[in-house]
């Protein structure tokens, strides 16, 4: 894309300084350090997100990846609404992967929450990293696009542009700007009946300095935000024309299939590719440090030939490691080590000594793969000192940088070409480099585009996984059954600070974390630590409620007096789900609530045990407070999606390690919820009017506990390990409900 910068309305997005400086003393110092650097380095990128053409069309450049959230549409609505643009004249484009569109607004948004985004902490940890480098990203993740980029950049950009257009019209007419109004891409002077189309003012407006503090609309002034708008990407996704990374195609391109070291971190010792080389279409067998690739004139030919390559990998100290060993290591750490402080309050130790009764619950969850529907792939075309890059990514700028550094080029000489993502979920974030690196190294050997593809099996075995975690709880009670203390020891690493904290008014708490590092590579997985921690805490809270002799809903409500938003979503979900009603024979309702990424979600799962003794999830009712919604139908779709993603993990998700490597291969042994196992879902937005919360992730965490808590009522069996499919419910008996 050729960008004519003079056509842009340049408007610096301004965020209030107060947003930036709010660090909890409980955060590790490196986060505080990064925040200090961030705040000092207030170097702002020019956030030029809007273009207005003489024909009065507005183009919104969206600096976020479209991976199913409908973000292109929602962010454009935010900019266009503040601009008072005619939606019929709005075009939506993905912002190109150049520094001009780096996403510093998202970073500063996170700075107010808990420092640098969790999925970028690796970058900070290895630092030497400067603020400019952290800011020089275009990341989509952390449920951040609308609440940070949308609020701090897109709305501000639209509002600033609107004020500049008014200023130009007012000068032209010689009237005060306050007498001018805007609507549907026109400035009006009602007193004289005169109007200008934005397109007639854009050239003059672009010469103005943007206002420092453009005034944003109040909700009653919204014309687009809050209304369900059809997503602009959907027509391309129903006629087959949407282009994903894997879809880049030229007549002369080549394809690489690759076998990576099955035990993470090991290297190639020897390769014999002679049998592969004689196959039809095969061009080269390429030995890399940790893998071997076959390059051919079709992916299938490359993949078939790869089966004939003999490759030996070096032995490793992890060659005999299994999931059982990993969990035994976790158990030993948890037993031997008091860990480092996450959260302490009151005197938990004394409470346990004085307690009338103590219950314990030891929980664990396995590794999980992301398994986006589009297998991982990357096409690179290197021509001299220039390169072109096609890959589905959650961060085009950092992919550009990575390819440049591996190819030995400058970033400006690498051009990233936009595509939709066939799912992201964290798999396509920076630091999950494995297909990007290999594709670049392979492409260096050719002068045509080379598409490197991981098969489904490759991706399942070479992911960067959701960490396996163990979490050991104790709760202390007095003689009346009141809970006195909460004790939790869990294995790290902590990717999302605060995920193990509970909102409940339990006076004495001790929450500490021990080292859980293994040789298995890990990364952010939709909702990051919240998916594991909410399963743990909301299940054990349920155990505590039952031990207290209280109804699990009422128990939560009683201990959430200081959290009215939590209470409200619980109330709305309970009302909608008919909590307390007479259920069909053999059905039960399980409940869970959790805050993550600025939103609070309550979920109630209606579950029964089927004739085959397997749980059936009939319906999930979710009430969620994300402040308010920009595009309500797309927002509901994100909640539905988050629930199904979490339900798949709860019911089936399990990556196991055998002999140091991943045992699972493909969907049959890494099963997904499908239509037949998909519950009805009812979503209720609680419009609190609080600041915007995220939506891509917050619906995922509560579902595992909601389903498990229902199963407990049905069977008396407490699910303390996921996935649920590994449990036998043939002999359970229902508990007496309060």
């Amino acid at each position: 894309m050729k960008i004519n910068r003079r056509k842009f309305l340049l408007s610096s997005a301004i965020v209030g300084g107060g947003v930036l400086i709010a660090y909890s003393a409980t955060r590790p110092s490196k986060h505080r350090q990064a925040n200090d650097e961030l705040v000092e380095g207030t170097e702002r990128y020019v956030t030029s997100y809007l273009r207005i053409d003489p024909n009065n069309e507005v183009t919104v450049y969206v600096p976020h990846s479209e991976m199913g959230q409908g973000i292109h549409t929602s962010l454009s609505m935010m900019a266009a609404d503040e601009l008072d643009a005619d939606w019929e004249l709005v075009n939506i484009e993905q912002a190109p992967a150049i520094d001009l569109f780096a996403n510093s607004d998202m970073i500063t948004g996170f700075a107010g929450e808990f420092g640098v985004p969790d999925f970028l902490m690796g970058l900070v940890a290895v630092s030497a990293t400067t603020i400019a480098q952290i800011g020089n990203l275009q990341t989509t993740g952390g449920s951040a696009s609308i609440r940070y980029t949308g609020e701090a950049a897109m709305r501000t950009s639209g509002a600033a542009a609107r004020e500049m257009l008014i200023e130009c019209a007012a000068r032209h007419w010689g009237v005060p700007a306050t007498e001018c109004t805007t609507a549907l891409s026109h400035v009006h002077h009602n007193a004289s009946g005169r109007s200008f189309a934005y397109g007639d003012l854009a050239n003059d407006a672009a010469l103005l300095e943007p206002p420092e503090n453009p005034v944003l609309k109040t909700p009653d002034q919204f014309t687009l935000m809050g209304k369900p708008m059809s997503r602009n990407d959907i027509p391309f996704k129903v006629d087959g024309s949407a282009q994903y990374g894997l879809d880049y195609h030229t007549e002369d391109m080549l394809y690489a299939a690759i076998k990576l070291a099955p035990v993470f971190g090991t290297k190639v010792v020897s390769v014999d590719g002679r049998e592969a080389l004689v196959r039809r279409g095969v061009k080269r067998v390429i030995e890399l440090e940790d893998s071997v690739a076959v390059v051919a004139d079709s992916y299938w030919r490359a993949k078939e030939a790869l089966k004939l390559v003999k490759v030996e990998f070096e032995p490793s100290e992890n060659d005999n490691v299994s999931s059982a060993d990993i969990f035994a290591g976790f158990d030993a750490s948890l037993a031997d080590n008091n860990g480092s402080k996450d959260f302490e309050q009151g005197d938990a130790e004394a409470s346990f000594e004085a307690a009338d009764d103590v219950i314990e619950g030891n929980y664990r969850v396995p590794y999980l793969a992301h398994a986006p529907m589009e297998p991982m792939n990357c096409t690179v075309h290197i021509q001299g000192d220039k390169a072109d890059l096609w890959t589905s990514t959650q961060d085009p700028l950092s992919m550009r940088g990575r390819v440049a550094s591996i190819a030995g080029l400058s970033e400006e000489d690498v051009t990233y070409h936009f595509s939709y993502l066939g799912g992201g979920f964290g798999r396509r974030l920076p630091f999950n480099w494995n297909v990007i690196d290999h594709a670049t190294l392979i492409a260096k050997e050719f002068d045509v585009p080379v598409k490197t593809v991981l098969s489904r099996e490759d991706d399942m075995q070479q992911d960067y996984y959701r960490p396996a975690v163990g979490s050991n709880f104790k709760a202390a009670f007095d003689a009346s059954g009141n809970v006195l203390a909460w004790h939790n020891r869990y294995t790290g690493p902590v990717q999302t600070p605060g995920a193990a904290h509970i909102p409940y008014a339990i006076e004495n708490q001790s929450i500490r974390t021990v080292d859980g590092d293994t040789h298995v590579p890990i990364a952010a997985w939709r909702s990051v630590d919240h998916s594991q921690q909410t399963f743990f805490t909301e299940s054990f809270v349920d155990e505590v409620a039952h031990r207290s002799g209280k109804n699990p809903y009422q128990f939560r409500m009683d201990l959430l007096q200081a959290h009215p938003r939590h209470r409200k979503v619980l109330e709305v979900a309970a009302e909608a789900a008919g909590y307390g009603r007479n259920l069909p024979e053999g059905h039960a309702l399980g409940i869970a609530v959790a805050e993550s990424f600025g939103s609070i979600a309550a979920e109630i799962a209606e579950v029964s045990i089927g004739a085959d003794n397997k749980p059936i999830v009939h319906k999930v009712t979710c009430a969620i407070d994300c402040g308010w919604t920009v595009n309500p139908d797309a927002a509901a779709a994100q909640v539905e999606s988050g629930i199904i993603f979490g339900l798949t993990a709860s019911m089936y998700g399990e990556i196991t390690i055998e002999n140091g490597r991943v045992a699972q291969n493909n969907f049959p042994d890494y099963e997904m919820v499908r239509l037949a196992t998909s519950p009805d879902i009812e979503v209720h937005f609680v419009e609190s009017g609080e600041k915007l919360g995220g939506l891509g992730e917050p619906a995922t965490p509560p579902i595992a506990a909601a389903v498990s808590n229902a199963i407990y009522i049905l069977t008396g069996q407490r699910i303390r390990e996921l996935p649920i499919k590994n449990h036998d419910f043939s002999e359970g008996t229902p508990i007496a409900q309060v």
Binding site: D233, E251, R280, Y299, P372, M373, S455, A634
Partner: protein, 157 residues
Amino acid sequence: MATFKINGIEQNLDVEPDMPLLWAIRDELGMTGTKFGCGIASCGACTVHVNGSAVRSCVTPVSAIEGQEITTIEGLASVAAGANPSAPDLSAVQQAWIDHQVPQCGYCQSGMIMAVSSFLATNPNPTDAEIDAGITNVCRCGSYTRVRKAIRSLAIA
């Protein structure tokens, strides 16, 4: 040589008889609406029609479809429209997918739409149980509630 018709156009491809139809469509013909998801007929992202019936093209060798009529997502509307020049650009299933805002990432939806189109052609008013048994495609984004609503809207219509 593999010979078949795809979206009404005859193709002669010099490929191995065991090349899966999916890769003939994508890499040889450069038609990218049909997706690679699992390679083992588990997820359904690669679903096309062979003589009107849904087939998972990733495990269908070209030798098995010799001389037959293939329809992909790109040809679905035109095949449905037949010779009618005033027919809409989208089939009824595709339009329902827009009306119900079904796709999220959208990667599985070509296959989902092809599977549903073939399914409804043989069972125009299915029960929920028949939908569950008939549509087994994977959608990692979890668009299932909308898939079901869209199917039901077509069944009632």
